[in-house]
């Protein structure tokens, strides 16, 4: 990509969040500052409860009340924004709509003509590899296919930034690897700026240009790891030596945080 050296598409400036609960304040995210370039693929990895989903919800606009600022193309945004699209961890395909009508959904809400939205939706279904399934309902499709519907639906708004919150968490390992390759291919094809939340280290290494390791609560960026594997990537690289080194390096940093998280969890449950 030639235009890598542009101004950042997404800029987080001292973004932080405290939840007030009846049991006192909980600092979920310590100030995070981050620039993401056009076409870049960023992963945020961290233990459960590190605030990575909170951070994602802030960028996606679902949480509007936070400290600091979020800028898209240099313009400060707050709340849901059409330049930022989100894919969720849970099943989110509308079960009462066919694959095609799931993808047309946001365009329908925005009042785009039927002809245009169907055409665009067919292109997107092709992009995610669901040709021929456009008239099927989600219940007739596999979990991986349903998640691809959700991705296509989010892309229907042509967001500048694609946020994915553990989109493969509910899938089995093999489906997850194949879907990772698919996401990479889409990201390359559209030069799509992407931010992924995951707790799968291999997945983060396979997909990302940069991996951000978050600490356990309160969440802050503990370290940034540049993934210097060559492009185009694919799941076939998993056996490589460099791949293994990167996974090991990230685990080194993550281990401590994960065990803190586990201890906290056991303390709360026990």
């Amino acid at each position: 990509m030639a235009d890598v050296k542009q101004a950042p598409v997404l800029r987080l400036k001292d973004v932080a969040k405290t939840f007030v609960t009846p049991h006192g304040n909980v600092r979920a995210v310590e100030p995070v500052t981050l620039d993401i370039r056009q076409g870049e693929f960023i992963s945020i990895i961290g233990p459960s409860g590190c605030g990575k989903s909170t951070l994602m919800n802030i960028v996606g606009g679902l949480i509007e009340d936070y400290e600091g600022s979020v800028e898209v193309d240099g313009i400060q945004v707050r709340g849901c924004h059409k330049e930022v699209g989100m894919v969720f961890q849970e099943e989110s395909a509308f079960p009462w709509r066919t694959a095609l009508n799931n993808v047309t959904f946001p365009m329908e809400a925005a009042g785009i003509t039927k002809e245009e939205r169907v055409q665009r939706a067919m292109e997107l279904l092709h992009l995610v590899g669901l040709d021929g399934f456009e008239n099927r309902f989600p219940a007739e499709l596999s979990g991986g296919m349903r998640q691809r519907i959700a991705i296509a639906r989010t892309l229907a708004f042509r967001p500048r930034i694609l946020l994915m919150d553990e989109p493969f968490a509910a899938l089995d390992e093999q489906t997850r690897l194949l879907l990772g390759d698919k996401v990479l291919q889409i990201q390359q094809e559209l030069n799509q700026t992407t931010m992924l939340i995951t707790h799968n280290i291999a997945e983060a290494v396979q997909l990302s240009d940069r991996v951000l390791i978050m600490s356990f609560r309160p969440g802050r960026i503990k370290r940034v790891v540049e993934i210097d594997l060559p492009h185009p990537r694919s799941s076939k690289m998993m056996g490589g030596e460099r791949f293994g080194q990167l996974v090991a390096a990230i685990w080194e940093d993550l281990r401590e945080e994960a065990s803190k998280g586990l201890q906290e969890l056991e303390r709360v449950r026990g």
Partner: protein
């Protein structure tokens, strides 16, 4: 030998066995009644019940009675649906009210409300409105409960999808909340319709006004047993058929969700 016989018997399809059981019972009854084992006047043989059926179809106004009963039940269910869905919606959006009143509503749904009919009889008089009111009273609580359950049960992630696409509150309701809770609302209406039919037929029978219930009550009062039995079996058959159809309809409508 006994084993082979057992296994042949076991391979008969359930539907055929069910049919054979019914045919056997009817045959047994015919023989018992014909040979005088049971009183042929109070328990007439199936053959004379069939003649009674032909008679009430031809001159007893069976078709008309059925039309009245169904029209009354549908009207009650429509009233119940309007009030039920509206109250379910209010209890869903007003959380404190939902917390305060949902358990009351559940108690009403399982309370024997039909026993209040003497009150409605003195309010509305001995006419169709008493019956409509009793039907509506019976089906409103279950419809309200199911509507609230459906709206409460809309997955938060679906609402978040709507928010990320900048849906207006109106779009959020009509494009996400409503279709998502439709299965539950439909179940509520189906159950409500059944409650309405049961109440309508029951009150028709008790106050001698209206359709099928009144028909049976009148035949009983006239000691016309073949026709009365025919009427009773007809009511049972019709409600079974109605239940079966709505059940299949629901399954078909919801097959994709």
């Amino acid at each position: 030998m006994a084993r082979t016989m057992a296994s042949t018997r076991l391979t008969l399809p359930p539907l055929l066995i069910r049919f054979l059981v019914i045919a056997g019972l009817v045959g047994l009854w015919e023989i018992a009644s014909g040979s005088g084992w049971i009183n042929a006047f109070t328990a007439p043989a199936p053959s004379s019940v069939w003649k009674g059926f032909e008679k009430i179809v031809a001159e007893g106004g069976l078709g008309e009675a059925m039309a009245i009963t169904f029209a009354t039940a549908l009207m009650s269910a429509a009233i119940g649906a309007v009030f039920g869905i509206a109250s379910g919606y209010i209890l869903h959006i007003w959380k404190a009210a939902g917390e305060a009143y949902t358990s009351w509503l559940a108690a009403l749904a399982s309370a024997p409300l039909v026993l209040l009919y003497p009150l409605f009889l003195v309010i509305f008089g001995r006419n169709m409105w008493t019956i409509v009111a009793m039907g509506a009273l019976g089906c409103t609580p279950p419809i309200a409960l199911k509507a609230k359950e459906g709206l409460d049960g809309v997955k938060p992630v679906l609402l978040n999808v709507g928010r990320t696409f900048n849906l207006t509150p109106k779009q959020q309701f009509w494009m996400i909340m409503f279709p998502a809770s439709l299965p539950s609302i439909f179940t509520g209406i189906r159950i409500g319709l059944l409650f309405a039919i049961i109440n309508v037929v029951g009150v028709e029978f008790l106050v001698n006004v209206g359709g099928l219930g009144q028909l049976i009550a009148n035949l009983g009062d006239r000691f016309d047993y073949p026709q009365m039995y025919a009427g009773i079996f007809f009511v049972i058959l019709v409600s079974v058929a109605f239940f079966w159809i709505t059940e299949k309809l629901e399954k078909w409508l919801l097959s994709n969700t």
